[in-house]
């Protein structure tokens, strides 16, 4: 069961002037290392985790990633909501406009739709948790790319918050991995 809170995890205030960022932000919505992929990856992997620590952590981080999806979508929406077809075209979103006008869509900046092949699940908890640690680093690097592409203060602020979250998640997944490995080692003794 999930419940919704009618607020963002962190305030998002974007200026109107950097509309081309809307296209680039799509990488963190429906791209291979984006927030949607992260949420689905963790919430799908949790079922076969052997320890309660890992089950809890994947549930909680997977849920937090859904809040990040909402922050990214809010940024894209704020940037594009009043854009004319011509402004969409200038921002590189002409093909988006042709198909769906100003609607959002879980795709990468090139319009390639999000796909389940962006995630992995192998039941082997060491494999899955290591995959997650790599995924967090890839997302951190993507946020650094995005931060370096804009000087909009509000956007940089929100992107820096999201970048920090990737660092914390990487740390927690590392701890969950150590606990899983200790659990596996203890099982071999008895």
């Amino acid at each position: 069961m999930w419940v919704y809170e009618k607020k963002l995890q962190y305030p998002v205030k974007v200026g109107k002037c950097d509309m081309r960022m809307a296209k680039y932000l799509y990488t963190q919505y429906g791209g291979p290392d984006g927030e949607l992929g992260a949420a689905i990856r963790y919430l799908n992997q949790r079922y076969t985790m052997p320890t309660n620590e890992a089950k809890g952590l994947l549930t909680d981080i997977g849920t937090e990633e859904l809040a990040h999806v909402e922050m990214i979508c809010t940024m894209i929406y704020q940037l594009t909501k009043d854009a004319t077809p011509q402004q969409m075209e200038e921002a590189g979103l002409g093909t988006n406009y042709a198909i769906r006008a100003n609607a959002l869509f879980p795709a990468d900046p090139n319009g390639v739709p999000w796909t389940a092949s962006y995630i992995q699940a192998h039941s082997d908890p060491v494999t899955d948790l290591t995959e997650n640690m790599a995924a967090e680093q890839k997302a951190r690097a993507a946020y650094e790319n995005l931060i370096s592409m804009t000087d909009d203060h509000g956007m940089r602020d929100a992107l820096k918050f999201l970048r920090e979250r990737e660092v914390v998640h990487f740390q927690r997944f590392g701890e969950a991995l150590r606990i899983v490995q200790e659990y596996q080692a203890a099982k071999k003794i008895f």
């Binding site: 809170e5 009618k6 963002l8 952590l57 914390v168």
Partner: protein, 81 residues
């Protein structure tokens, strides 16, 4: 910032502390100090949310917030607006 934004901002801050403590406790379940902090902020959050719900309408759906003054859940602005 207006009064609503100030209250919402404090809810976001306290929830952030709780989320951080929650993830930390997931992998450090026997840390008593972190647990004390978690319970302290949880109490804090309950009061802040109650204040918000009463003044500005429900923050949560499905009965997790009361809706005393008519059905205010569907009133805008929504978080992305």
């Amino acid at each position: 910032m207006n009064d609503k934004e100030i209250l919402l901002r404090s809810i976001q801050e306290v929830e952030f502390a709780l989320l951080e403590l929650n993830l930390y406790l997931d992998t450090h379940r026997y840390d008593r100090l972190a647990l004390m902090e978690y319970n302290y902020y949880a109490q804090n959050l309950m009061m802040l949310k109650y204040n918000f719900d009463m003044k500005y309408g429900p923050l949560m759906n499905f009965g997790f917030s009361p809706s005393v003054d008519g059905w205010r859940w569907i009133e805008g602005p929504w978080p992305w607006e």
